[in-house]
Symmetry: C2
Subunit: 369 residues, 2 copies
Amino acid sequence: MKTFSIAKSRRLRSTPYTSRIEEQGVTAYTTYNHMLLPAAFGSLEDSYHHLKESVQVWDVAGERQVEINGKDSAKLVQLMTCRDLSKSKDGRCYYCPIIDDKGGIINDPVVLRLSSDRWWLSIADSDVLLFAKGLAIGNNFSVNIFEPDVNIIAVQGPKSFKLMEKIFGEKITQLKFFGFDYYDFKGTKHLIARSGWSKQGGYEIYVEHTKSGLDLYDTLFEKGKDLDVKPGCPNLIERIESALLSYGNDIDINDNPLECGFDKFVNVDSDINFLGKEKLIKIKSEGVSKKLMGVKLDLKKINITESIDIMDENSNPIGELRSGCYSPYFDQVIGIAMLNKPNWNANQAIKIKINDQAFDGKVCDLPFI
Amino acid sequence: MKTFSIAKSRRLRSTPYTSRIEEQGVTAYTTYNHMLLPAAFGSLEDSYHHLKESVQVWDVAGERQVEINGKDSAKLVQLMTCRDLSKSKDGRCYYCPIIDDKGGIINDPVVLRLSSDRWWLSIADSDVLLFAKGLAIGNNFSVNIFEPDVNIIAVQGPKSFKLMEKIFGEKITQLKFFGFDYYDFKGTKHLIARSGWSKQGGYEIYVEHTKSGLDLYDTLFEKGKDLDVKPGCPNLIERIESALLSYGNDIDINDNPLECGFDKFVNVDSDINFLGKEKLIKIKSEGVSKKLMGVKLDLKKINITESIDIMDENSNPIGELRSGCYSPYFDQVIGIAMLNKPNWNANQAIKIKINDQAFDGKVCDLPFI
């Protein structure tokens, strides 16, 4: 596949760590929330193996925060998501599909409840801030909405616990999954969550104090030498094997949360008020007509830059492949596909065409493993 | 400067023309509204000279449309912009700053009035669709808001008139600046505006019928051979020399339209209703404290990837350089800068530092020429 350079400009914002990752050998970028997000440090497959065995430090500042605070903040956050947050607690993260009045997904952030009237939406790639602003203005809510200066460093991989313990002490290992708290680094408090966009374990450090954050970034590499720490980034192979969905790739505004396997976050039976509730009640009672599924293909290589049509054995179109990669674990290409009803049976035979050549495959359940 | 590749995926959407421009030699991409936007075909300077002398065809599908139609569409569009649209006409384009309730700029689209209850906002790089949706839901407006399948081809340069005449006949040359109409191409009607993101003259073809659009794309190259037609893209040098502002580069949500020289589109004296009106009335009466200005620097080369601090002669910070390039016309670096009051006098001496080296320069008025 031909490669093309990325034309940098102020509009594709650098992060506080950009100069560091460029010294450390980043080779490819994507953009995320109008910001540079590293996409590769050389071979994706080498990074994949390293991530599963060791520990990596990621510049994921592109996961921007939308802060919503003020008297009506809880009301506004709840209005935007079909997940019931009425029993949410301070110091906890909540994965929340953000939906519009039609039930279409606008984003799938992790919502951090800092307090009952102060929230961060740690967003995927769409301007949730503008949606929240529009809703707040239209509803005359008493809230402040802005993007705080927060630049996340993720520490991911099985050895992340050991590395973080070296810096923050044993108590960081007691932080529960999707919990967060403030931890001291040389006199500066950092919000740290046990979370991250891999299934290999780890933390996300929500850096609000850039100078201390840069010192911390460097310290992670110093203290991690004997753990074979390396710079990294969300890994396409690992995230697909783990079925971590990517907004814009696997999901878009034309999909509803029931089509994306988010059933347990579609709390239509609660008495909370959120956009698209009636629509989702109707969809739930009627059932969905398309659904995200896994596929395995008799291929050893794929580069997905746009949706690829999927056909059944008789060459009828039945859906589209939205992301995919060669999986070292399965030794074949795996992918995430939106498939029309009733093509949801694991092992159903499928076909795709790439450059006019047909390849066979099978439907499978998500997650793959 | 080191270069990095762009990691393609479905999330950075391809356009109908992507495969064509990749055959034609695109070398760099940026992203724009979650879509690939070509940023270079080899040398920027060669493209600049060619654009000023001849004609280029640009894939600017990343200039997405937000369609707003329905009973309350005019009300919603007006609510979002400080430009008075009460006397707007069908078939005309209007450059409209979109602002929030604080007067901060959210986007600066060209608004096309298709009819009194059907509008397209041809947007810069931010999700105006989500802002419009939030406002419409909150205000309970009767509107439909969606991104139609429109992929613009721009034909730019002094010979664009000749080329378009060859394909659409003489009447296309009678289209007035910022007017649009429908023109026939082999039986398919295409909306064509006399507009484009250069000051070299030309058209934008709002392709709604992809198959015909691809045929048209190829025809532009066939019929343009004797006019030395080439593929191109918005050119950094030409757009800065012409002082065409770029949202995200020169302008962001922390700027208001009076700081960006949009005074004539800030119609606070009309009786229309728009967001941030009171705020803008106050700002107008008090005067702004920062303003976009031009700068000329004693440099022959620059690569701007983030804001660069600007100092006065005594090294006091007075603003920031937001975009810039080497200008063949002035034979030095020129740029667009946000400068604090009172540093707005043309010829005022300024300094910037790049890699700890200081360079001298001068303030100048916009546009440069």
